[in-house]
Amino acid sequence: MRKFGIFTIRTETQDALGRRPIAGSFSFAARSFAARPRAALLLAVMVCTSLTGCSKNTADLELDAARKAMDKASAQKASDCATATYKAAETALNEAQKLAADGKIDEAKAKAMEAETLADQAALASPPGCDEPKVATPDEPAQPETTDASMNLSIESALKNVIYFDYNDASIREDSKAVLEDVAALLQKAPATRIEVEGHCDVRGSTEYNLHLGERRATSVKKYLTAHGVEPSHVAVISYGEERPVDLGMSEEAHQKNRRAELKRQ
């Protein structure tokens, strides 16, 4: 038995690894962390709360941060410019408040952080002037095909959103759907725009298999966009597998950051 161990059967599903909660709501915190560094701060506060008892166990901090993010998104007219994402953030915040009221503190924290992430994404996709109606001048007929400066800016911003995936999985997660719906809406308003979806994987698993997994992730994003009205010929896909990680670390946080699709303008 020194050398040849027993190759046992794992009964958990593949997905269980990617989703496996580390401690309570920590797994969701990790996911948010992947999206934005600020959540790391919240995470630190949360750990402090749960491990050392240095402040009382409520979701107030998280709810407060989510409300502030909502206010910022609202001020940037995100409800007009990134409607689906804004609405998803609003829903998440309402749910978080309800969970907090019901005393489900861990769930409320997770939901509040989700709301904050979504609100930040909505704000990101709503640059100044994005809500101004595109009025045609009297001597020029309306040209919906033209992408004016503000539309351009909106698209640039929307394409900055990164779509994250679960381990060994290529399906679009709930937390990415609203963002992709906004991207789809923008692309339909700017039919001259062509994008390329890049699929990426974490560094575990083989080079070749990960290339094909990355291709499936990029294809999933393309399918979601085309299901929401985008012309298939306007969206190209390419996979980089595990060859272009954004984080070279081996932690679950690093892996989550690398399991992603990026949207690039062509």
């Binding site: 190759f7 958990e12 080079t207 070749e208 290339l211 094909h212 499936r216 980089y240 060859e243």
Partner: protein, 399 residues
């Protein structure tokens, strides 16, 4: 096996070439598992005394240290020439079995020692030695991934691509002259071939989407590879000039990473058709698909042994660690080759089927290792740096 220090026939102080020949011979016989090299510290004979010839050897000195074979080398080195006289003796009978003289330049010392080790291994086992074969692997660079080729002991490592792009998944042509690989040099991940000495890559196939893992059939006339051109990753065969594309698999899930059986009649591959990736085998025309790994949940990178009896692969075990295993495609018997030594991945068989090259993180970064096919005698080869997907060459004809 006893390998005393190579001696300088001129009688002077030990030359660099003599030292190199000694260390290469010892390393080679140590790798060739059956030929255990006895610790030189225990040798009774004085390597500076006596000659190379059988008549001048005091056989009792070697019998009493337990040697069954004896290799002696005599070197004559000048600043621009090298002559090496190497002999292999059967200690039991006191008979000279092999005698070879090599002449060339000082930098040929390693090659001479490898050539002689090959002769000895062939004499003793009837199988060609692998010591003049090479390994191609991918090295991570600051801007991307480049292909490197090195001798099987890690020496003479050099980059054969240097385009700053992503160059991955190397595999040798059957004649050992070219290496197939996937590259992003023209944005789309196409399949190329490049001479082993480097040079301009030749486009083999540039279908839309992924063109990965091209593996030349034993007949050398076509490749098996994975393409995503039809909207999903499937295995195809194509002539080596890019014509006669033929699709072999048709599954919703990922099918990838084909590896030919040595008779060219079957192909091992990875499929996630039942959910988790597993190793499958099919006939070379795509028929008669059967699953060969029925354990584990994450089995990838099959490489079919040149002997035909085993398929080596990477598996993620129950602790989420990656290790090397072999499976017998007929009996489905699985054996574990690595354990508790970091992550071990991407096995590739030596052309004699007795060794496996792979990457391991046991020393931190991902380095190249070789081991015997039963998992024994692992040795790190080559320099530091992050390497991946090593591919062992076929036998290479050297002039």
């Amino acid at each position: 096996m006893a390998v005393p220090d190579a001696r300088d026939m001129g009688g002077g102080p030990p030359s660099a070439a003599a030292g190199e020949i000694t260390s290469v011979l010892r390393w080679d016989f140590d790798v060739a598992a059956a030929l255990k090299v006895l610790n030189p510290k225990g040798y009774l004979a004085d390597p500076t005394k006596g000659g190379l010839a059988a008549a001048s050897i005091k056989w009792s000195d070697w019998v009493s240290v337990g040697a069954e074979g004896l290799v002696q080398a005599g070197v004559t080195a000048t600043s621009n020439s090298l002559r090496a006289d190497m002999r292999f003796y059967d200690v039991g009978t006191g008979r000279q079995v092999i005698q070879k003289t090599y002449e060339g330049r000082p930098e040929d010392a390693r090659a001479f020692a490898h050539a002689f080790a090959d002769e000895v291994v062939y004499q003793l086992t009837g199988t060609k030695g692998i010591f003049r074969t090479q390994i191609c692997a991918v090295k991570r660079t600051r801007t991307g991934r480049e292909l490197w080729v090195m001798d099987m002991d890690g020496s003479n490592a050099r980059a054969i691509t240097n385009n700053g792009s992503i160059n991955i998944l190397p595999s040798w042509s059957r004649n050992g002259r070219e290496i197939y690989f996937t590259s992003y040099i023209r944005h789309n991940p196409n399949l190329y071939a490049i001479p082993v000495g480097g040079g301009k890559p030749r486009l083999v196939l540039g279908e839309t989407g992924l063109n990965t893992g091209g593996q030349e059939a034993p007949s050398g006339d076509r490749l098996a590879l994975t393409l995503s051109r039809d909207g999903n990753s499937e295995i195809y065969t194509v002539a080596t000039n890019g014509s006669h594309l033929k699709r072999l698999t048709k599954e919703w899930a990922i099918d990838s990473s084909p590896s030919w059986s040595p008779d060219g009649r079957q192909i091992a591959f990875v499929s996630a058709r039942f959910g988790d990736p597993h190793i499958f085998v099919m006939n070379a025309d795509g028929s008669n698909v059967r699953r060969v790994t029925d354990r584990g949940t994450y089995n990838q990178t099959p490489d079919w042994s040149p002997k035909g009896d085993l398929i080596a692969f990477t598996a993620r075990d129950e602790r989420n660690v990656f290790d090397i295993f072999t499976v017998n495609p007929t009996t489905k018997e699985i054996r574990r080759l690595t354990q508790d030594q970091g992550n071990n991945e991407e096995p590739s068989f030596s052309p004699d089927g007795n060794h496996i090259v792979f990457t391991s993180t046991r020393n931190g970064d991902s380095h190249i290792f070789i081991m015997a096919v039963d998992g024994s005698n692992p040795k790190r080869i080559g320099r530091s740096g992050a390497f991946s997907t090593p591919a062992w060459s076929p036998y290479i004809l050297t002039p």
